[in-house]
Amino acid sequence: MPDPLLYPVTETPTAAPTATPYHQPLALDVLREAIGRFDSCTTAPETLRELQSTSRLLIPQARCGVMLRQRDGCLELACERADPTEPAAKALSTDAEQGIESGWVGLAIKQGLYRTDRQGEVWLFIKLASPRFVHGVAFWIASSIPESLHQALGALADLAALRLDRLAEPGASVLAPQPNQDEQRFAANGFPAAAADPLTGLAPRAQFLEALKQAFQGDFIGHSVGVMLLDIDGFHRVNRELGCVVGDQVLRSLAHRLETTLRSPYVLQALGSVSSDLCLARTGADELGVAIGHLRDPDRLLQAAAELQQHLAEGFYQGAHRLYLSVSIGLAAARPSGEEVGAETLLRRADAALKRAKSLGRNRAILYDPAWGESVSPHLRTESLLHEALQRSLFRLHFQPLFRIADMQLAGAEVLLRLSTSDGTPVPPSSFIPVAESTGQIAEISAWVLRRLCQQIRAWDHQGPSSLPFALNLSAIELSQEDLAQRLHKILSQEGIAPSRVHLEVTETAIARNEAQARDNISALRTAGFEVWLDDFGTGYSSLKLVKDLPFSGIKIDREFVMDLTAQTSTAVIAESIIAMASNLDFQVVAEGIEEPEQLEFLRARHCEIGQGFHLGRPVCASDFERLYLSKTQPQPRPEQDPTPT
């Protein structure tokens, strides 16, 4: 809908068919006067006062008010009086509400002008707009308003709107009424007017702090005040690698996405707040903050944070680049009546939570826990490729068969993760796993792996039920997470797969990262029905103690001991004693890295139970695994023709 100046001043007033000639000279004089007066206005309230006083020259007996559009899009009455409790101001505010509720204001915005008769009075609403911005609606109520004055009033409104436009430059923020006016109505959502952040259009840091302080002064019975700090992971890389123009655009897109999500009914419902309780601000170069008043339950902050992350996970399409960004979110809440906490403390806590979220591998939300001490560690990089791989299913599972050495029956398979870039170039695990571990994406990746494995198991079981187990590697990061067993168990029960079908392999190094948590996790996993194997046995430091203390199902002898088995006597002795020790302790043993028939014979002679290696079968994709090892004929090891490792 084109939105030109609705009432060009130059138009001859006699064009109005019902014009009373008597009004015209006065109207023109008033307009001439107004042009001069508006020009000297330096603030928005002054402009509005001028609009009201000049219009009184035309209709002296009318009540006149102006509703301005606020930052959140709502219209609020701009009071010109100092005391909003004064009866005349109250009446005006009732009029304004009625105008909004009855839809007249909406019609005025749509049509430019709306006039109606009500209880013996004429109500006239005129849009206050320039070609670039709708500022609000002005209205006049009087026992009579001659229709011939419509054009003149419209022209006044246009002049005022143009002035408001000019006053709004360069920040282009919505003009709020002056702060010392009507506190009760305006303070609630118009925090004192400060220029919006020019890049994102969000509130600036100062306003965020002010909003937070105000939230602490509100009425808190049963409510808390909350803070969310959102930091874009590795954002400096976007600027560095793609340039600041792209960086700025991405930042703006991200801010807008977050704002839309934050104000959706589901997020507001979770928080127990209404839109005007929230202030979303740009609090740093690549950091956004949300101040939340009237928060019902601090735990719900996590739910809201998850919702926000969901809207970023799909990535951004920006200037021919596909970018996958994640945010780390620090959350804190306080119930001011109960604790001696102010805005500053709350902010510091949210910041501590944010740092912790970063150090735990990013792309996560952490709620501040008063039990924390002063820790918090380094910070790590995020990697777009892995993000993209997760989003677009670029990962594939490969399966390497395990055989019972005694009779060469298939005993299971180790599941290995393969990644190719979208153009098909394979990325070796040795290059992406460490990155995934350092960014924390490993947890998301392994959840994907487990889910995919379950689907594969289900598909194979569909063709012929079996109890064949599949072994997965657990990373150090996951092993030091608190809810590991629950998380894995939940995935299995959703997918309908028994935990006994999944063997989890952990390394000694991984256990050493956070030994206490790892112990708890391993016990919990065993209780949940998983088998847990100690992988790469013999290469770590505390092997024997671990084997003694932890409820492992079995151990895997590291390939290093198998490799030199037939060449070095010392290696053979070590291998032999590991096998003997394991059988005494009633552990199952898998020998990894069998590449030659001699190695197999050696292990068979020592009653090593299970073997794995290129000599027996390489890792292959699911369909090859099915064809080679799961077909109805007796599965046999498939020694590799070409033993060069890939």
Binding site: S264, P265, Y317
Partner: protein, 281 residues
């Protein structure tokens, strides 16, 4: 339409097309000797799609009492006509689900679309219309034309969104000014190109029309549902303003003001579950 708008319509073929499986399933459905078993066996070749169909069939959208765990059973429960719509809906959402956009997330786009579908369906139910799912699909697809705009003209649409945010004009006006076409025009063209039944093309093409005309009920219900979804702020296809209500469409639906509350409540209650059925694992 300006030449740039025409050029944009010519580029619709650059977009991902509907998956072959949709066409196969549609053929199987339309064959005179076709059976639901035949359709099921076509669909089962695409495990991702059939899993998605099962999830949607079990979502709050259908409100089935017993959980449906197999595709043939789902197809029997919801009926042939509906099977076509559900395949279409899941195919369209799946085609675009994982493509990143800019300031409007794809997720937000589908949230808005699904909320509009749910509201449109609630309106149809309220009016005692049969085939309420036709209304759902009309609502789901009503803003589909925004996706080609975002995907083919990301820069210009980014500027349009920014201008819209700064209250310079409503988004559709900006589309006309900056691209010489609108999402309604593009949406109708895209659906026509996909050979989707005319009722959906009209809803996509005319849900913002304000003139007097003999609109289909689906179009008018979508017009009202779009206003409801925007007012509730469930997701967005880009606009931050609630579209203008057309008297003609409102009268055409025959809704009373009192009907709105139950429609809004049902929309709020149902949408979240339907969104996760369509978008999540």
């Amino acid at each position: 339409m300006q030449p740039s708008g025409e050029r944009l319509l010519e580029r619709l073929s650059e977009l991902p097309s509907l998956p072959a499986i949709y066409h196969q399933a549609r053929d199987a459905l339309e064959r005179p000797d076709g059976s639901l078993d035949a359709v099921a066996s076509v669909l089962e070749t695409d495990t991702a799609l059939s899993a998605r169909i099962l999830r949607v069939a079990n979502s709050a959208l259908y409100g089935l009492i017993a959980k449906v765990d197999s595709l043939p059973r789902a197809l029997t429960m919801i009926g042939t006509e509906e099977v076509h719509r559900i395949i279409l809906a899941t195919s369209v959402v799946s085609v675009f689900r994982d493509i990143p956009l800019g300031a409007v997330s794809m997720r937000s786009f589908w949230e808005h679309s699904i909320a509009t579908g749910v509201a449109s369906r609630a309106i149809a139910r309220r009016l005692g219309q049969t085939g309420a799912e036709r209304f759902y699909l009309a609502g789901l697809l009503h803003d589909i034309g925004r996706l080609p705009l975002y995907l083919l003209e990301p820069e210009t649409m980014g500027q349009a969104l920014q201008a819209h945010r700064e209250h310079r004009a409503d988004l559709q006006t900006l589309e006309t000014q900056m691209l010489g076409t609108t999402h309604t025009e593009v949406g109708a063209a895209l659906l026509t190109q996909w050979q989707i039944p005319a009722v959906y093309c009209e809803a996509a093409g005319r849900h913002h029309d304000l003139g007097e005309d003999d609109y289909r009920l689906e179009t008018s219900a979508t017009h009202v549902a779009d206003i409801i979804a925007n007012s509730l702020r469930i997701g967005t296809s880009g606009t931050r303003a609630v579209p203008v209500l057309s008297e003609t469409h409102w009268r055409r639906t025959g809704l009373e003001v009192d009907d709105l509350r139950p429609v809004v409540e049902l929309t709020l209650r149902t949408t979240q579950d339907v969104v996760s059925a369509f978008l999540e694992l």
